[in-house]
């Protein structure tokens, strides 16, 4: 009985490893396509720019909307991000990481700057990852690239976030989805600032280790 259990565990582990390897290979292929599109955009290919929008428009818009909770402002930020990408494609350097993470980081930073320029009159509205995970994809799109993003990259990020100790996860969510500084988080939670700093630092490093193990970030 026991040897059979071990073989089952081995089989499951092999299946899991094969799944991870296949996911990483698909991810690498998509990243290569992103870079190729950016290279074409660098050469002034407007069709490539349109294709890139089709691929990432919903992600960029959703990221901005998540931060700003204002559809018009989110549209403005998405427009600004894509137009800038067209005018200055060299801002992305493929040696420094994946295109998708760069694009979303730039979008989120721009959104938070916009939010703060308004004197923080609006606080970010958190779209809890748990709720999003169990809800159907509101995009309802059939785009294969977006579906692929939804099915593996997004799952990996959610799993990594869910795997954090609750205090670390809370601190990261308040910072990222709530647009709060560490000082503001410490005040809101009535915790020492040093504690919040440690939670953010440890949580982010665990996130990276988890995403690295899933082949979602560059080593």
């Amino acid at each position: 009985m026991r040897p059979m259990q071990i073989r089952d565990e081995d089989r499951q582990r092999n299946v899991s490893e094969e799944h991870e390897a296949a996911g990483a290979a698909a991810r690498a292929e998509r990243d290569g396509e992103d870079i190729a599109l950016m290279a074409r955009i660098g050469a002034g290919d407007i069709a490539a720019f349109e294709a890139l929008y089709e691929r990432f428009g919903a992600l960029v818009y959703s990221t901005a909307l998540q931060a700003l909770a204002d559809t018009q402002a989110a549209e403005d930020v998405a427009q600004e991000i894509f137009v800038r990408l067209w005018r200055r494609p060299g801002n992305f350097d493929p040696k420094r990481g994946r295109f998708v993470s760069w694009l979303l980081s730039v979008t989120r930073n721009r959104s938070v700057d916009e939010l703060r320029s308004r004197g923080r009159r609006r606080r970010l509205q958190t779209d809890p990852p748990e709720a999003a995970e169990n809800s159907p994809d509101p995009s309802g799109r059939d785009d294969p690239a977006l579906s692929a993003l939804a099915s593996d990259d997004r799952a990996a990020v959610r799993e990594a976030l869910a795997g954090l100790p609750q205090p670390q996860r809370q601190a990261i969510e308040m910072a990222y989805f709530g647009g709060m500084t560490q000082v503001e988080i410490a005040e809101a939670l009535q915790q020492p600032l040093g504690t919040v700093k440690t939670r953010v630092r440890m949580g982010m490093r665990k996130m990276r280790a988890s995403l690295l193990a899933r082949g979602r970030v560059e080593p």
């Binding site: 089709e54 959703s62 005018r87 990481g97 994946r98 930073n109 700057d113 910072a175 560490q182």
Partner: protein, 292 residues
């Protein structure tokens, strides 16, 4: 701020969870420190992917048309080529330059901000504009308003707006320019940059400073402007000077832990790793002076 301090803050920096002044210090440091910049890139990669944890929302169909129309407007003629080599090659940034990549837009944004101020009254006025406000966040808002008031033209504003997400580098430059103990030294132009104005700004407590230039001609075809610091008779590479379309340039220059004795900018063929070309700008024997 030393490397250890920066690395303790790098994850919060990537999340945008630092206070403005602290973020500016981190931004300034990583602009001049390869290892901390690498750690910053790694943290930003994780932070960027966090957006995927939330649900997707479909943008309105009209947004795509708006974006394409905006991209094809005449201002799009200012498009810049891929990467640092200008030839469209992927990842061909030469020599691991700090311009381009994650921080390229910030340098360009700062260049635009300073250029706009320089354009209406020289570096002195730009410093006056930059020094008028107290808080780093307020500084940006104020600059935007001031830039708007001096009617810089549609293209300038479009460029400004298009790059406005990359504020960290701008803040880093502002932090140096407005530091009470900031120093500067003039770089004299050679005949190849006749009429150019250039200063290197730094603070005694920081390992990085800011090189600001105006009225610079673009580099000859196939050449770049490279920045070198001089110490004990030796020159060490310190970055590339990218000239903006309005002939201004800004570079964050790391001088390391030890004092430097001079700075030069030379005209180099693409890929050159040594200061072999003609001098464009040089501190010569100019003495440092307080900024404020």
């Amino acid at each position: 701020m030393i490397c250890r301090d920066v690395r303790d803050r790098i994850d919060a920096y990537a999340l945008g969870a630092l206070e403005a002044g602290e973020a500016a210090e981190v931004g300034l440091h990583i602009a001049g420190c390869d290892e901390c910049a690498r750690l910053g890139d790694a943290a930003r990669e994780v932070a960027g992917l966090l957006s995927l944890a939330a649900g997707l929302r479909e943008p309105p169909p009209a947004l795509k048309a708006r974006i394409l129309a905006r991209a094809l407007e005449p201002a799009a003629a200012s498009r810049e080529p891929w990467g640092d080599d200008g030839g469209g090659a992927i990842g061909a940034a030469a020599g691991g330059q700090r311009a381009g990549g994650w921080r390229g837009g910030r340098l360009a944004l700062a260049a635009v901000v300073v250029a706009l101020a320089v354009g209406v009254g020289g570096l002195g006025l730009s410093l006056a504009l930059l020094g008028r406000v107290d808080d780093l966040e307020d500084r940006n808002d104020t600059l935007v308003r001031q830039v708007d008031q001096v009617s810089v033209g549609a293209e300038g504003m479009a460029q400004f707006a298009a790059m406005a997400d990359d504020l960290d580098q701008q803040r880093a430059a502002l932090a140096v320019l407005n530091a009470p103990d900031a120093l500067r030294v003039r770089l004299d132009p050679s005949a190849r940059a006749s009429g150019a104005e250039a200063y290197y700004y730094w603070t005694p407590s920081s390992s990085s400073g800011v090189l600001l230039c105006s009225s610079l001609p673009p580099p000859p075809l196939g050449h770049t402007y490279e920045v070198w610091i001089e110490r004990s008779g030796q020159r060490a590479h310190a970055g590339r000077l990218e000239v903006h379309s309005n002939r201004t340039a800004l570079a964050i220059v790391s001088r390391g832990d030890r004092p430097i004795t001079g700075m030069v900018v030379t005209i180099e063929p693409w890929g050159s790793t040594r200061p072999s070309g003609d001098t464009l700008l040089s501190t010569a024997s100019n003495a440092p002076e307080p900024v404020h």
